[in-house]
Symmetry: C4
Subunit: 356 residues, 4 copies
């Protein structure tokens, strides 16, 4: 069996999925400059090892936002998982549970958020897309609270889809029978019409987009800590912290929204620098190796999310695939920590990286 | 239909055009170092987004040189458009009109400049190649004035063709029936002969080339504001401004004249810096995405031209193609502005770019 | 015959070896970032020649750690050489002897270390992997001493295998009949079992890994000078020197253990700087040209090892292949020294390199 | 006909020449790092144009070392031209004469140096490889003087062949009937034998290599100005000037001797800086465009040589090919000068280049 790394799942997924779905999944915005840069900038980071360290007391346990993690890896919210496998998000949750991995469940899951939660004893966070109707947004929040989700991860970098040419060219549409079931009671959007001086983008789509005011409103409505996902600039990070947001996910949505954004990994240390050493930072973007997790931790992340690879593994082998993927990533991280001479997560600092 | 971006038109144009015409169109000078650099340097520029901004009052309207533009996009002057489609420049003008886009009409149009002007209610500028005969040059200027063109765009970077190896190798010649109809009354050039100490280039072709004196002369002859197209150095920009030229197009002619020039986008901020914040600057060179327009605006352009893509779209689908292309570019710009958090053109500044 | 450089042997070896063995040999860790960087960083170094120098008294003789070398080239320890050729390490030793080249014999040789030693009158060093059983480690050391090895090269950068995806994907396993014969009396490892809070990596594999204490212990047990192989950071180099280690091999194990380490050649000058001009430094990593040897010497190495190429040459043509390879490398070094104007090894300094 | 640039000749030459000869010609030393860098570093240089300049009095005439050149282009010494075409060096000389181009004739020409000289009324320089026998060297010098050569270009960067793997792999040998006819009276080399402590390189080949003493000796023997070809370091340039050498050719022999040398174009400005503005500098290395000539002039060269392309053109179309090539290069230079706004050679300075 030559399935030995996350990239092998990517390779095999191509064969297991209809082409349009594969393109939708793998693709980034426009010319994929950001998508490719996410990978390239991670690759450019080098490790400065300390040899001959005693690692027998080594371990990957860590604590973030009051929750215990067996290892600093989290499943990023990835929509529509039944596109990959009929078992959908529930299979992913089962795999996460088996491998003691936390999971962020997307608003756009294809299975009820309650059912997914039931399968997961690990940290489970709910990713919220704020809806135009505040009432309906609240109903989602309340269901998440009730189902035992412990954080609200509000995604703010995708008020509209971005330019997804690759999926468009492949003619991607959601297949019959796959839908965002948790939104099925969403009130229909008012039919919009535009006068010639107006724009479908600004006066249309963006009229549904959340603003800082909506975030402030949401803070009033829930006792769950709120995490903003998609922060990519120092200014927005400072603002989030200042208004009492519990933490942020440094991310460019895997290069899927605005193309030509910087790589998330190049913003991470600048944001860490700006928010101080104690503010919770989650990182995602092109993570597919234990060394990637190590690098993100060294540059200031508390937790690291993996996006597309979970989808690939799900497509190739269902829950088992995801479980195997998580095992591989975990072991790669442990091997990296051993060879770098950092037996504990707390040992991983910027001085373990090497700058030419 | 997989025609969803400007680059798709480029791809399809290759199939729709005879090879020699395609090569003529797409090619740059010599080894295409400048052509490729135009693209590469745009790609290297990154965007620094502000999230959660209210964009409901967003719009792309802008004013330049006293004219209102619905969006900061302009069609660059591109010669011989009947090479692409029998409907030629008139089709392009109709598309521009439909999409509320300005157009610069080339001296080397294949249809009468008056007919083109009639089809266009948007800002229309006339691109002038100064001719050896001053009288004939004046007659062109007067026709342009009379036809309602509002600016003279004098192209100064192409006194001779440059080394167009790609077109030469493909054996490009203007096909029967396609010609620069607006020059048909041009007085025949005097037959030149050279003694052995002379050069066909210097004493031949360059003897027809305009100089700063010709520009000064032209300023006396017309009430239309004059814009110099092809300025690529700080010194020439300063000189142009000092002598009362109304604005400049920062351009290297799409890499088609002298190879090994810098990318136009790398000169743009230096020229903006030199001429001050209020001097009108138009930009062109490899623009094919909304993000490209955004970047050029952020680096100091007031308007942004698109060259080859209009030709590709015309070749693939005539006026409809050009209209669709313009719609795509406009929407991409609006999407970029929304995701970057800059609802108005005036919000787009250098601080919305990110430097590693 | 088109076998004229080390890279030609690499090319031919691919045809001479079963695919899985070839992949095992040639591959690096994970994504081979370090493997490729080793080569790339050597390629980026440029030579600053002095012409018209008298080279008639030229020669490559050098002295390191009290031993005379006819040229500053050494065979790196490479395990399991019978994978390449039935004549195994003995053939390699015979070739080294013929070409007056030193050799480091691996703990994981496929032939008795005594038999290999017998075939070699040149400097012979023993590469030691410290074993979990101190007694057994000692027995190896004593056999090496008795067989006439003059140094102990303790490899410290491979306490576990690293992520060898390429070999895994090719399904590499040691073929029947090929084994680490010098370890055949090794006491069986205690069967380990883990509770759920433990890790196979940290509490399993790394429990056998040597630490600085083990090195200190070893220093008490042998009169042979100890050299640490695999040092890649300035701190570890300083520590090694401080505790009386005789010298170090600056190496990242040919990119085979932890991926994303810096290239060994970029660490070499920093380590030379840190340990002072007189501390013995051996270098390896992607050496396959006389110019590579020259560059490493100029950046501070006293001796330079070649790893994979010996294996390729052995696979292609046995002892003769290795001998030819060594002759090629030696001559390339002499040619380089002649054309750079450095007739003696002692003439090769950093000023013979050119920095853009 | 798609032969419109120097690179087209390279392409066609591949079809016109036996593979081994083509490989010999085109190849560089070892891994061709220097060969490729010569090209790459020229490509990276950008031009800063001045537009709207009056070029009607433009011309390429220049003076160097007391000789008038119609344009600053010179044919580099390239050995064994009958490999390309039976008409050999004489054809090249005829083409040079027709296009008013100077020529450096190689010691290793395949036709008598006197016959070549007869065909050339332009500046003709003799490239000298100093021979082991001083008498024979002198006889060559005297023949060159008598035949009307005006300079001695002593090549110093090729005392031995370098590692020419590409030619070796292709099995290149001089075909029957092609030889260095001007060396046919060379006294046979003494048969050398080496004791085991000696090296074929140092005590063998390098014993024939010239040193600074031989250059000093040669200065006594001839009234012709001596130019050193192959200087690539600032120190050697300073030394040459100090000892009264008339000028130097900044060159790395087209990347054919020692690999890993810097590009000649990156050394040129440093050497110009070191020797002052008036010392004659000739440049070669990867010149194949008018823009390349322009760049070298701007960085301090007085004349620019073209090597391989003359051979390609000769192979494809004999004297006519070389003449066409020279015309193309000349016109490209004139076009570049026109578009850059530098009508005279003396106008081409470093300020006409643009540094990002
Ligand atoms: C197919 C797909 C669907 C996604 N759906 C969501 C989503 O519903 N909500 C969200 O916040 N992010 C979503 N993301 C973004 C991921 O959470 C994550 O930020 C991104 O994939 C990380 O990059 P990676 O895929 O390179 O690991 C999605 C990403 C992909 C690839
Ligand atoms: C086929 C073609 C014809 C052109 N003709 C003209 C012209 O007649 N006058 C002019 O000023 N520029 C001309 N240009 C240059 C364009 O106005 C513009 O500067 C250039 O194409 C911009 O680069 P882009 O094609 O990468 O967008 C032409 C360009 C092309 C590709
Ligand atoms: C197949 C193979 C086996 C190796 N075995 C050992 C070994 O047993 N002990 C050791 O210290 N290093 C071992 N190495 C590492 C080499 O000693 C050396 O550090 C590395 O190969 C140098 O890089 P190069 O192959 O690019 O020249 C091995 C390398 C290879 C390729
Ligand atoms: C086939 C060939 C033969 C050459 N023979 C000589 C020679 O006899 N003497 C010499 O000084 N240089 C010789 N050179 C080097 C050239 O003079 C010149 O330095 C080099 O080719 C310049 O680089 P270019 O080929 O990239 O233009 C030769 C080069 C080639 C390619």
């Amino acid at each position: 069996q030559d399935l030995v790394s996350a990239s092998d799942y990517a390779r095999y997924a191509k064969e297991h999925l209809p082409q349009a779905i594969y393109e939708y999944l793998v693709g980034g915005g426009a010319d994929e400059i950001t998508l490719n840069r996410n990978r390239q900038k991670l690759d450019e980071i080098l490790i400065n090892p300390s040899l001959l360290q005693d690692c027998t007391n080594g371990g990957t346990d860590t604590v973030c936002l009051g929750e215990k993690f067996r290892h600093p890896l989290l499943l990023a919210p990835v929509a529509f998982q039944q596109l990959a496998h009929p078992d959908g998000e529930i299979a992913t949750a089962q795999a996460a549970d088996l491998l003691e991995t936390g999971m962020i469940v997307s608003t756009l899951a294809t299975q009820p958020l309650e059912d997914i939660a039931e399968n997961l004893t690990q940290p489970k966070w709910f990713q919220l897309y704020i809806q135009q109707s505040r009432d309906f947004t609240l109903s989602l929040v309340q269901r998440a609270e009730k189902a035992g989700y412990t954080k609200l991860v509000v995604t703010i970098d995708a008020p509209l889809h971005g330019i997804r040419n690759r999926a468009q060219r492949a003619g991607f549409v959601l297949p019959e029978g796959i839908s965002a079931v948790n939104l099925k009671d969403r009130p229909p959007l008012p039919r919009q019409s535009f006068d010639p001086s107006q724009s479908v983008v600004f006066q249309g789509m963006m009229s549904e987009a959340p603003t800082w005011d909506d975030i402030a409103w949401l803070q009033q409505q829930t006792s769950l800590p709120i995490i903003l996902k998609g922060v990519l600039s120092v200014d927005d990070a400072i603002k989030a912290k200042a208004m009492g947001i519990a933490g942020i996910v440094v991310s460019n949505h895997g290069g899927r929204t605005l193309d030509c954004l910087p790589a998330s990994i190049e913003m991470l240390p600048l944001i860490r620098q700006a928010v101080g050493p104690d503010y919770p930072l989650v990182f995602d973007g092109a993570v597919e190796r234990g060394t990637d997790i190590f690098k993100a931790l060294a540059l200031g992340a508390n937790l690291v999310c993996v996006g597309r690879p979970q989808f690939y593994a799900l497509a190739v082998a269902g829950a088992l695939g995801v479980a195997h993927l998580l095992r591989v990533l975990r072991e790669e991280l442990e091997v990296c920590m051993s060879l770098a001479g950092t037996p504990q997560i707390a040992d991983i600092h910027a001085d373990k990286l090497w700058r030419p």
